[in-house]
């Protein structure tokens, strides 16, 4: 592999230096980082002395790949951590040393770590009475689950930015310009956050914010912990430091002198995880603390035309923000050559999808590898993803999407199992509708069709039963048994007698029950989940989710009339528990079109030849998430006390976000960007957002001859 001069310069340094690599994406910094890692290993440094510190697990992929390519080198394991991961690991190790300071009610007992789901569940448990009995959040129009998640988000921001949770409301209120009466919602947020924190401390529960807070407050200053860390890790590689949080930067800055060597990589014009607390300014304090900074400037990825397009974006945004645009001319670049638009803008959304799919097919026919194409939208809705996937399937084009799995209540396999659970535990009073039972039968018995499943359920299932609601197959009239077929009847009978023999919930847990149902019946030959890996995965996720729920919740809310299983099933139905997990993208097929939300693609940090940007009229390209109970700008470290947040700020932020995002995407695009939009979005609204206006401006300017 030919090295760039910057990469060679880095590798010329001895492994006793602390060097920062700074530059835009696409200039070879991460590659330099992997080469540096290799150099460390080749020089005989044990892998377990090397710490790779990243803001998000997906960003470790290039390093993992390079280690995988050269297995012989990595004897032992390089530690790959995020701040959260590090906090949790240290809490596990040093809990007894600091537990008495943390304020938990039972310091002598180990803490329980909450997952996102269980934290959401407990937040609901604490806040629901406040909403229902004290009219909290009355003046808001927002789904309850979002209230809970935004309060958690505020707690996390406090931990990541490093301010006391008591300051959440005062900060938000001080910046508020809206209706004064509306300000009380921040008091409600504050009271809810404090109530949740008390609940956690009282029950030895550590949510994500508390894990980080305790780590920063008590573990990081603890000499034993510090010396453990210092002795364990001698060499540091930090990548995408601009995507990390101020508290992570504080830790790294203080820790830096203790390492023998360090490479700190920072992308300029990035900071995409801003909404999650990323802070590019504090990242630079770590860069500044290094011995030396190497600038990476030469773009190794994008064509000249794409770079021309980037300049066009910079100028258009500057002009929208009323600033004098910097005339960065790039001889020979023509932004319009980097863009492909449909000849006519389609009026309707499906036509946009059809256009994109047809163009993808054309590209592939002309030799572009499928893996060199990504389809991006600001928000990959189910409808968009589904329609696109169907269309690509139709053309036989391989594709994959990196997305959270479907929520459990939308997963047919999970539905089937939970339906049988509600049948087996009639005392819950949650007997399913007959049609659901028929659907479950259709899934469970193989082969079985909807008509026969309905017919069978009509004769054997009593949805109003007080006790066990299933009748034996032999009670079905003979003529109907003929129609259903005896083979299916026999399997039904197998399933029924298994369910009928179910022990009461007191004697077994829901996860145990489902585990057995799956293992002893549904995965056996003649049943629907036999040899079905995808469904097996879903079932495993379901069972794991129930286990975690039971371990944490069962312990806390254990009283006589409380059934963990019933509670779980109801929470799934309400959407509180979705058990959505990110499908591991390592499993993604190598050469296939990638469908993803734009930010997800950025966080994958890989370049491709062609990008499709869909729905370019949508405001979701730049709108901040999680309104109205939290505010990433006001809660950031750079926010000055006493300032108010106005619409002007909002627009400035929107412009900056959009510029950051579009430059980030273009930095990861080699040749062309296809721009898809329809006059009306999927709901029939006409969207003419900022991105569209910027692109118009770029096109106009280019036509006028400014490159």
């Amino acid at each position: 592999m030919a090295l760039t001069s910057e990469q060679s310069r880095l590798l010329d340094h001895p492994s006793t230096r602390k060097i920062a690599l700074v530059g835009p994406a696409g200039t070879g910094k991460t590659t330099a980082g992997t080469l540096w890692l290799k150099k460390l290993l080749e020089s005989g440094i044990p892998a377990n002395q090397i710490l790779l510190f990243i803001p998000q697990r997906t960003l470790a992929k290039p390093y993992e790949d390079s280690l995988w390519d050269d297995l012989a080198l990595s004897q032992g394991l390089v530690s790959i951590v995020t701040l959260g991961g590090l906090a949790r690991r240290m809490l596990d190790l040093f809990w007894p040393a600091i537990s008495s300071q943390t304020g938990v009610a039972q310091p002598d007992r180990p803490p329980q770590f909450l997952t996102l789901e269980t934290a959401q569940y407990f937040m609901a448990h604490v806040v629901r009475p406040l909403i229902e009995e004290k009219n909290y959040f009355e003046s808001l129009t927002i789904n309850r689950n979002r209230i809970f998640s935004q309060i958690l988000d505020n707690l996390n921001k406090a931990a990541f930015v490093g301010f006391p949770i008591e300051e959440i409301a005062p900060r938000l209120k001080a910046a508020w310009v809206g209706d004064v009466e509306q300000m009380h919602i921040y008091d409600d947020v504050q009271a809810s956050a404090l109530a949740f924190r008390s609940f956690c401390l009282e029950h030895n529960l550590l949510d994500f914010s508390l894990q980080v807070e305790i780590f920063i407050k008590y573990l990081w200053p603890l000499p034993a912990c510090r010396s453990y860390l210092t002795q364990s890790y001698r060499h540091l590689i930090v990548d995408n430091i601009e995507e990390d949080t101020p508290v992570a930067h504080d830790v790294l800055r203080e820790w830096l002198p203790d390492f023998d060597s360090a490479v700190v990589i920072a992308d300029r014009e990035a900071g995409y995880r801003f909404f999650l607390g990323a802070d590019t300014q504090s990242a630079m304090t770590v860069v500044d603390a290094c011995d030396e900074t190497l600038l990476f400037e030469k773009n190794l990825v994008s064509s000249k035309d794409i770079q021309g397009l980037q300049n066009g974006f910079r100028r258009a945004v500057a002009s929208l923000m009323g600033e004098t645009p910097l005339q960065q001319s790039l001889p020979g670049a023509d932004a319009t050559r980097a863009i492909v638009t449909p000849r006519e803008n389609p009026r309707y959304f499906p036509a946009m999808v059809n256009w994109a799919s047809a163009e993808i097919r054309r590209l592939i026919d002309q030799g572009t590898p499928a893996g060199e194409i990504v389809v991006l939208a600001p928000f990959m809705s189910d409808v968009l993803r589904y329609t696109l996937s169907r269309k690509l399937d139709e053309y036989g084009i391989p594709h994959h999407s990196h997305r959270p799995s479907r929520a459990l209540r939308d997963e047919p396999a999970a539905q089937t199992l939970l339906t049988f659970a509600t049948v087996a535990f009639p005392e819950w009073g949650l007997l399913p509708q007959r049609i659901n039972f028929a659907f479950a039968l259709m899934q469970a018995i193989d082969p079985f069709d909807l008509v026969r499943a309905q017919l069978l359920s009509r004769y054997v299932y009593d949805e109003r039963a007080e006790g066990f609601p299933l009748k034996p197959f032999e009670e079905v009239p003979a003529e109907v048994r003929d129609r259903i077929t005896y083979r299916a009847g026999e399997r039904y009978e197998q399933l029924r007698s298994w369910l009928a023999a179910t022990l009461p919930e007191d004697d077994q847990t829901l996860d145990f029950f489902l585990n057995r149902l799956f293992g002893e019946v549904l995965s056996q030959p003649g049943f629907g989940f036999h040899n079905d890996l995808e469904n097996a995965n879903t079932v495993a996720t379901l069972i794991e989710s129930i286990q975690k729920f039971r371990w944490v919740i069962g312990d806390q809310l254990n009283h006589d009339d409380f059934s963990t299983g019933k509670e779980y099933v109801q929470m799934v139905a309400d959407g509180v528990i979705a058990a959505q997990y990110i499908q591991p993208w390592q499993d993604a097929p190598k050469d296939s079109v990638f469908l993803a939300p734009a930010y997800t693609f950025l966080m994958r940090n890989q370049a491709v030849d062609v990008q499709f940007w869909l729905d370019i009229g949508s405001p979701a390209w730049y709108q901040r998430l999680d309104q109205p109970l939290t505010q990433p700008y006001v809660l950031s470290r750079r926010w000055k006390a006493g300032e108010v947040w106005t619409t002007e700020d909002e627009l400035r932020a929107a412009n900056a976000t959009l510029l950051r995002l579009s430059l980030g995407l273009l930095n990861r695009c080699r040749q062309k960007v296809y721009l898809g939009m329809s006059e009306m979005d999927v709901s029939g609204y006409e969207n003419r957002g900022l991105l569209l206006r910027i692109i118009q401006q770029v096109l106009l300017e280019t036509k006028r001859g400014i490159r």
Partner: protein, 748 residues
């Protein structure tokens, strides 16, 4: 053609000279205000008055007008060699409010993914809230009722009586409270401060709170919330106002006579004292006022302001001189001679003037014989027969002309449509319901879902087959083939042997043995594939199921777009009702298909209705829906004193329930109590019965304008009839109608 090249009327010329500042234009029906306003917008853009990041904002009343404006402006820009679609934005007030709120949802207390519930979901919530309330407060209305004890059961349980009353009170109360920017906690506070009981407000406030809770639970707002919240955002953040003033330096408002208080406030804020605001409207066509704060008075007051340039568009080339005379005589009689003094301000000059002789849109040649004012009172059935007889005779002689039957209410309209259909007269009733193509597409999805819900029923499967092949209906020769197949499917006893055959039981093999030909077998196999795909997809989340089905059902872009929109709607419903399963979603589709819920689709019919596309057919619509449209011939029906009262002793009023004490209009009384409460003088202000009387006056005035709107829809032929209503009603022809007959006699 450019404005310069085209011959403009003096009124239009004056308006197109506008450059900046405030201007108020009163226009008459058919004077080309949409044309003039879109020209003005295009002129402003072409003249360079707009910077690249600015837009001329056009605000209009209904979605149909949005498309109309957009098409006209973009056409003019293209003709001038400019990029269409840039430099302007056409919105209804709801669309504008949506744009504003989405800029700063936090200021409105909304999450950025907030949803908007459509009218039907809102109605469903209100209905359920009202039912619950009535069940837990059965005694509440006792003091307001006057009835024979034997009728108690009927009053309390029949849906058209008390349940409907509570629902209508809830709708009116919630709308007014939102118009006044009051939230349920605000009302709670205000109620705690007053000393006297205001039971009707307490009722309304309770319903309002429950309703809002239900919306919050869904993370949704309704259309009225959007407007209220947009104003809240603007009032609370001056920098938002400044940003929007910069973005929209010109605001052109159409149909300003139906402007509400909030609309006026929002547009005032967006233009500021020195901004550019053109308001065009016809105060005589204000017909959306009942129980809202909309009022033509806002436009009239605006026009009177010293800083406002006043213009008018009095010339209209739409109708014959005879029809213009009738419309003008209605204005004159109302102003000068209406027996009810309060009603005299309902209609105002300018009178309609015909266009000048060399006008590009000359009035049709006069035809006094084309006017038929039927003085004789008919029974409802006689009226239907009379009108349809007349049309049956007229249509063959005028196959290229357009015609409409207009009635005051939807239900009445259907009677005419049914009779036309019965006699084989082509009828277009899409203005009475969701557009027919939306209904057909939705109905197709419904029938497939219905067959999935109950897969054992061969009848449902047969219907699903028919809708799947619905397009073949147009091919008269082939259709019998498909009908025969549908019949065959219906006759299949064991559906499973057709859809999922076993070796020994295969229906297709059976019918093959019976001699069915290959084409039939092929067709059945193809259909079986479709249904098998559907049945295998029943586990998918509802949105994905709809999309899967739509791949087999639809080819047209608009139909596919509709399927996408339906899938998003059902997804929202599924989030709001986690317990819903296929049967509930199927029921929902049925309601859309049957038009119990109006669902704005994507076909052209939904967004703009063009009467000229239906020559030789009968368009049936309500008079309200006909606003903005015109036909060669118009039948105005049911012009009796029930639909168009004039304040006579014997008049009856739709909002006064027969079981209410002293003819109280309880909706109006509730709103009056709310007004009294908010104005802080409950003790002095609220007098029982006064609001009922005032509501009568308002209704009389609005109905005079509705009559005027009806008359001015006609270009050449106009027939007006009245009916006696139900036997017990003993209605008579409306007073205004009788006066029109007198005036017409004199005119002739």
């Amino acid at each position: 053609m450019s404005a310069a090249a085209m011959k403009l009327r003096p009124g239009q010329q004056q308006i197109l000279r506008y450059q900046n500042g405030k201007m108020g234009v009163s226009a008459v029906p058919g004077s080309g205000k949409t044309w003039t306003l879109s020209y003005l917008a295009a002129d402003l853009i072409k003249s360079g008055a707009i910077q690249p990041d600015q837009e001329v904002l056009i605000v209009t009343l209904v979605n149909a007008a949005v498309d109309n404006f957009s098409a006209r402006i973009s056409g003019q820009l293209q003709a001038a060699g400019l990029l269409p679609g840039l430099g302007y934005r056409v919105r209804t007030l709801h669309g504008l409010a949506n744009d504003i709120v989405r800029m700063r949802p936090d200021l409105a207390g909304l999450s950025n993914g907030f949803q908007i519930v459509d009218e039907v979901e809102a109605t469903r919530i209100i209905r359920s809230v009202s039912e619950t309330w009535l069940q837990s407060n059965p005694e509440f209305f006792e003091p307001y009722l006057d009835f024979d004890e034997s009728q108690r059961e009927k009053i309390y349980t029949q849906s058209q009586n008390l349940p409907a009353l509570v629902e209508s009170i809830a709708v009116a109360f919630i709308r007014l409270a939102k118009d006044r920017q009051l939230t349920p906690p605000d009302l709670h506070r205000l109620l705690a401060q007053v000393q006297i009981p205001l039971p009707l407000v307490e009722l309304g406030a309770g319903l309002y709170r429950e309703y809002q809770d239900a919306l919050n639970y869904r993370g949704s707002v309704d259309f009225d919330d959007l407007i209220r919240l947009a104003l809240r955002c603007l009032e609370s953040d001056p920098s938002l106002v400044a940003t929007l003033r910069q973005r929209w330096p010109y605001i052109l408002e159409d149909e300003a006579q139906d402007s509400s208080l909030l609309q006026q406030k929002i547009l005032s804020l967006l233009t500021g004292e020195t901004g550019n605001w053109v308001r065009v409207g016809d105060p005589n066509q204000a017909i959306y006022e009942t129980f809202t704060t909309a009022s033509p008075q806002y436009l009239l007051d605006f026009i009177q302001r010293p800083d406002v340039l006043t213009r008018s568009l009095p010339e209209s080339g739409r109708s014959t001189w005879s029809i213009i005379s009738l419309a003008n005589s209605l204005i004159n009689w109302t102003r000068d001679k209406h027996p009810n003094l309060d009603a005299r301000k309902a209609l105002n000059p300018p009178l309609i003037q015909p266009t000048p002789p060399d006008d590009p849109q000359p009035n049709p040649p006069d035809c006094p014989d084309c006017i038929q004012l039927v003085e004789q009172l008919l029974s409802p059935d006689q009226e239907v027969k009379f009108v349809v007889d007349s049309i049956e005779a007229w249509l063959p002689e005028h196959p290229d002309q357009t015609l409409a039957i207009l009635s005051p209410r939807n239900t009445r309209g259907f009677k005419f449509a049914d009779e036309c259909q019965r006699r084989g007269i082509p009828v277009v009733d899409s203005l009475l319901r969701s557009t027919s193509s939306t209904r057909l597409s939705t109905s197709a999805i419904f029938h497939i879902l219905n067959a999935l819900c109950d897969p054992r029923e061969s009848g449902k499967l047969s219907t699903a087959y028919r809708v799947w092949r619905r397009k073949e209906r147009e091919d008269e020769q082939r259709w019998p083939f498909y009908q025969a197949i549908a019949k065959r499917i219906k006759s299949c006893d064991r559906v499973e042997d057709f859809l999922w055959p076993q070796t020994a039981n295969d229906w297709l093999t059976e019918i093959k043995a019976e001699g069915a030909d290959a084409a039939v077998l092929d067709e059945l196999e193809t259909f079986r594939d479709v249904i098998q795909r559907g049945q295998n997809s029943v586990f998918l989340p509802i949105d994905q199921l709809i999309l899967t089905l739509s791949q087999d059902l639809f080819l047209e872009p608009a139909e596919l777009a509709l399927a996408h929109k339906l899938s998003v709607l059902l997804r929202q419903l599924s989030n709001a009702h986690p317990d819903w399963r296929l049967p509930e979603f199927t029921e929902e589709m049925k309601q859309i298909a049957n038009n119990q819920r109006r669902f704005l689709g994507f076909s052209n019919e939904d967004t703009a209705f063009n009467p000229d596309l239906y020559p030789g057919q009968v368009v049936v619509a309500t008079m309200h829906k006909a606003k903005g449209l015109e036909w060669d011939a118009v039948y105005l029906t049911a012009v009796n004193n029930y639909n168009f009262p004039s304040g006579e002793e014997y008049d009856q009023y739709q909002s006064e329930k027969w079981f209410a004490r002293d003819h109280l209009n309880l909706e109006a009384e509730t709103l009056a109590q709310l007004n009294a409460l908010t104005e802080g003088r409950a003790m002095d202000w609220y007098q029982e019965g006064a609001a009922t009387l005032e509501a009568r006056q308002e209704f009389i005035r609005e109905r005079l304008r509705l009559f005027y709107v009806g008359i001015t829809r006609a270009r050449r032929w106009l027939t007006v009839t009245a009916n006696s209503g139900r036997a017990s009603a003993r209605n008579v022809p409306a007073r205004a109608f009788l006066e029109l007959i007198n005036a017409w006699e004199k005119h002739k």
